[in-house]
């Protein structure tokens, strides 16, 4: 493995966050809504910190200068897809936190079909995690056999 420590740490934390979201979903099914709200809020906010502190600076330095010229290359396409979908999912997750956990939003901007939104975001979140893991493998794991 050729990865820097920060990449290992981020991958480890992101897997933990995604598992935490599953635990949160399970808490909702058990009707423990307060615990559910805490669990999902911590996960989404911790992810926001990781995105802002590690992922965005790394992306700007190593990936964005190669867009669009090398978008067809997997080492650019994968992090670009991960970043785009991840950004959308994080924004929707933050919106759900605001809509469901606070009264900051005006009535007309609140969500009614919570379950649908939350489940959709949970599935998309795991898809983003898979794209992130694929990016990690592409950037840091040497191929076993080369010709």
């Amino acid at each position: 493995m050729q990865s820097p420590l920060y990449a290992d740490l981020v991958l480890f934390l992101e897997i933990g966050i995604a598992l935490g979201l599953l635990v949160g979903a399970w808490l909702a099914r058990k009707r423990k809504f307060r615990e559910h709200a805490w669990c999902q809020s911590v996960a989404v906010l911790l992810n926001l910190v990781l995105v802002a502190v590690v992922m965005v600076p790394t992306f700007r330095e190593q990936v964005s200068p190669k867009i669009p010229a090398k978008l067809g290359k997997s080492y650019v396409g994968l992090p670009a897809a991960h970043g785009a979908l991840g950004g959308i999912v994080e924004v929707i997750a933050l919106y759900i936190l605001l809509a469901a956990g606070t009264k900051l939003l005006p009535e007309r901007l609140r969500i009614r079909r919570y379950k649908l939104w939350m489940r959709t975001v949970l599935v998309a979140w795991w898809l983003v995690l898979l794209l992130g893991a694929a990016t990690y493998v592409r950037w840091y794991v040497p191929l076993p056999v080369r010709h």
């Binding site: 493995m1 050729q2 990865s3 820097p4 190593q62 200068p65 190669k66 090398k70 290359k73 080492y75 592409r138 950037w139 840091y140 040497p142 191929l143 080369r146």
Partner: protein, 122 residues
Amino acid sequence: MIRTCLCITVLTFSLFNALALLAAGSRYFGPTTQQGQEQTVEVKIDNFSFSPATLTVAAGTTVTWINRDDIPHTVVSSDDSRVFKSKALDTDDRFSFTFTRAGTYSYFCSIHPKMTGKVVVQ
């Protein structure tokens, strides 16, 4: 007498041939530049490693790193003053640095910090 002359002729011919072969050999296997000009040596980057990992060169030699990998890499000297530092090199991109002073120069890829190499300048 005739035998001695013949021997001298054969020996002289052999010597010339040997010298000619040596000259041709140095053209193909020796330094890539002519005497008096600075020499250039290449380091290949492939499958997350520098090859050769340790390179010994004379002062004044230009070392060129070529990225043959399908992922970006950088070449950054390990010392605090960062004697040399490349941008991210894509596939087939090159980075060159001329080593004018004797010493040992360790370097690494800043994207993959476990990728390291060394240039020993004599």
